[in-house]
Symmetry: C2
């Protein structure tokens, strides 16, 4: 918790659904952020920008935190840290999950049934495997996905 808690509800969660043994075996001993080669391109990681429209559950930081952690695990990622900020009781939520393989972030506008998610994952993770989790958690009417390959080696 930091000194800015009066600004809104703030939550910090270590990863609860992975054992320390798994984490230590993963992040400390292997390098998980190596450049990948796909379709003949070498790049640092896949960055998906996902806009959810007509979505629900956008003002509930605990639900959002659980969804993002499930999304990270579905993609094969290792969770290091998460932080969620709730701007007001029925207001938007901003949150990030820091991964050994980069991050997931979310920003929600409940009054517009809109959420902007980004999933940046390096190594052997596949952020597309997170999309079904987001669909189940937020029941969007429409999902717009933009794919960016970060750090493309020319």
């Amino acid at each position: 918790m930091n000194a800015l808690t009066p600004l809104g509800m703030v939550s910090e969660f270590p990863s609860e659904n992975q054992t320390n043994d798994t984490l230590l075996a993963g992040a400390a001993e292997e390098q998980k952020d190596y450049f990948v080669v796909r379709d003949g391109q070498k790049f640092a990681g896949m960055h998906l920008l996902v806009d959810l429209w007509g979505a629900t559950n956008l003002a509930d930081p605990e639900h959002i935190d659980a969804a993002l952690r499930e999304a990270a695990l579905a993609a094969g990622a290792t969770i290091l840290h998460s932080h969620f900020h709730h701007f007001s009781p029925n207001g938007g939520v901003s949150g990030v999950v820091v991964l050994a393989e980069s991050h997931i972030s979310i920003h929600t506008w409940p009054e517009r049934d809109f959420a902007a998610v980004d999933l940046f994952m390096c190594g052997c993770c596949d952020p597309y495997l997170s999309i079904p989790v987001l669909r189940r958690a937020f029941l969007p009417e429409r999902v717009d996905i933009g794919e960016q390959r970060r750090g493309r080696v020319q």
Copy 2:
């Protein structure tokens, strides 16, 4: 700090360069994440994906934290939380700064002189004003910037 500190060096910083008064006046009383209209388009926020090549200072989490906070302030943003993870003494750094207007993230690969930054800002912030700060802090030989307008209303 969370229970996963053994994985690497973890740092948490509240915003030190803004007073609580400024923050309270900002985030608690005004809505800073309103949709903006620019060039006839209405959207939730500007998301810049910035790849830095031939860059320096990529294995120093304190330098990176200071640079990202300066970048946030240059854009007119309000810092709520920051978290940085250093994977090994000379290894990469992953970090996020959560803003009242969304977030900035960074992931660095010092062994490749490469860093991937994203700056997502809503409201009246201009993430392009962060770019000169990143150039000064990391002295990249090349900067690739991709602009995405998130939550574009059709």
